[in-house]
């Protein structure tokens, strides 16, 4: 690699250990970066070479696990998905995600999100129990049925959307874009029959109606999902079911497997 491709960039990193510190502090580290270096690589370099006490959460390093979400120069981003030189800044400010309790330094606590996720039952619910236990066929979907939820199924649960949400910053009981997107993804699926079980929580005081369509969630999503859109569609779905007592969803039919009756299950 040529010498000219390497730049010295200052990293201003948020440091706070709630168990020991009374208030947060900022530490500045200088790192030599090339054009391939991501913010996560730089933070790990700091951890290895300069300050081993720095706490960072990461896993896959390729924007799949959603572990390394943090505020980078004031915006919610995945550290592994953000190249340092793309930020066009001589100083990179790294902070923990907004709206979540801090565990330590850049690591935030998602337990509130996961608790809320359980409440909306993020899985396909069906009433044909016997078919679920002893399957005789498949629920084949039309391409347009798949398109209804495909975009919203890409969520990696990184929590960036909920961190950017202005409603969640004041109302900690709000279900948040990540959870509402999950609820819509499963409710719109033609194989699912579980909306009635999700309705009491989605249509509650802190459910989908508290979204004011600021769309900050959609602007920060690293997977290009549009949670703001899914929440508006969820509102439409809830209104159709609750007030007009009708569901637009087409029910998917069971397609029997050939020779299903003869083959042992």
């Amino acid at each position: 690699m040529e010498e000219s491709e390497i730049e010295k960039i200052k990293f201003k990193v948020f440091r706070f250990n709630p168990a020991v510190d009374t208030s947060p502090t900022w530490k500045i580290y200088e790192v030599e970066v090339d054009r391939s270096l991501t913010v996560l690589d730089a933070l790990l370099k700091i951890k290895e070479e300069k300050d081993p006490s720095l706490a960072v959460r990461y896993s896959c390093r390729q924007a799949i696990c959603g572990s390394c979400g943090m505020m980078i120069n004031g915006k919610q981003r995945l550290a592994c998905f953000t190249r340092v030189l793309e930020l066009n800044s001589k100083v990179v400010v790294v902070e923990p995600l907004n709206n979540y309790p801090i565990i330590r330094d850049l690591v935030t606590d998602f337990s509130d999100l996961f608790k809320k996720e359980k409440m909306v039952k993020p899985y396909i619910i069906r009433d044909d129990v016997e078919e679920m236990r002893n399957p005789t066929g498949m629920y084949l979907q039309e391409p347009e049925e798949l398109l209804e939820y495909l975009q919203f199924a890409d969520c990696i649960e990184c929590g960036l959307c909920s961190s950017a949400c202005p409603t969640y910053s004041t109302d900690h009981l709000f279900l948040t874009p990540m959870i509402l997107n999950k609820a819509y993804r499963f409710s719109v699926d033609s194989r699912d029959k579980g909306l009635q079980y999700r309705l009491p929580i989605i249509d509650s005081e802190h459910g989908c109606w508290r979204c004011h369509f600021a769309a900050a969630c959609s602007s920060v999503c690293p997977k290009g999902i549009d949670p703001a859109k899914s929440i508006q569609l969820l509102k439409k779905m809830v209104t159709s079911v609750n007030i007009f007592k009708r569901m637009r969803k087409k029910e998917v039919q069971l397609t029997l497997r050939p020779h299903a009756a003869e083959s042992p299950v």
């Binding site: 409603t167 004041t170 109302d171 005081e205 802190h206 459910g207 109606w209 508290r210 509102k235």
Partner: protein
């Protein structure tokens, strides 16, 4: 009442405010449309305007307060207070409408 019903009513009252508010402004500010005030529909539209404005305003306040003061029981307390305040304003407004149009 379900949250979706409350919010649907919020949108419907918003639309009603647009219509009845326009009737109110036109009838009171354009001389050529002064005759609207002599029809039976005018006091009815003003009654609808009063009810719609109060519901829309009180529900809007409820939404703001529920977000600013989240809590397991705060929503209920906020709703009760706003229903009482809204009812007082409605009775007061209705009395004025009856004095104006009903000859009380």
């Amino acid at each position: 009442m379900k949250e979706s019903t409350k919010m649907l009513l919020h949108y419907i009252t918003g639309f009603l405010i647009l219509i009845t508010g326009a009737v109110h402004l036109i009838a009171n500010n354009l001389v050529v449309f002064n005759w609207i005030k002599d029809t039976l529909w005018y006091p009815i539209s003003q009654g609808i305007l009063l009810a719609a404005v109060l519901y829309h305003a009180m529900n809007g306040l409820r939404v703001i307060l529920v977000e600013l003061l989240p809590g397991s029981s705060s929503g209920k307390v906020i709703s009760i207070i706003l229903i009482v305040v809204g009812a007082i304003f409605f009775i007061f407004g209705l009395y004025f409408l009856l004095v104006l149009f009903g000859g009380w």
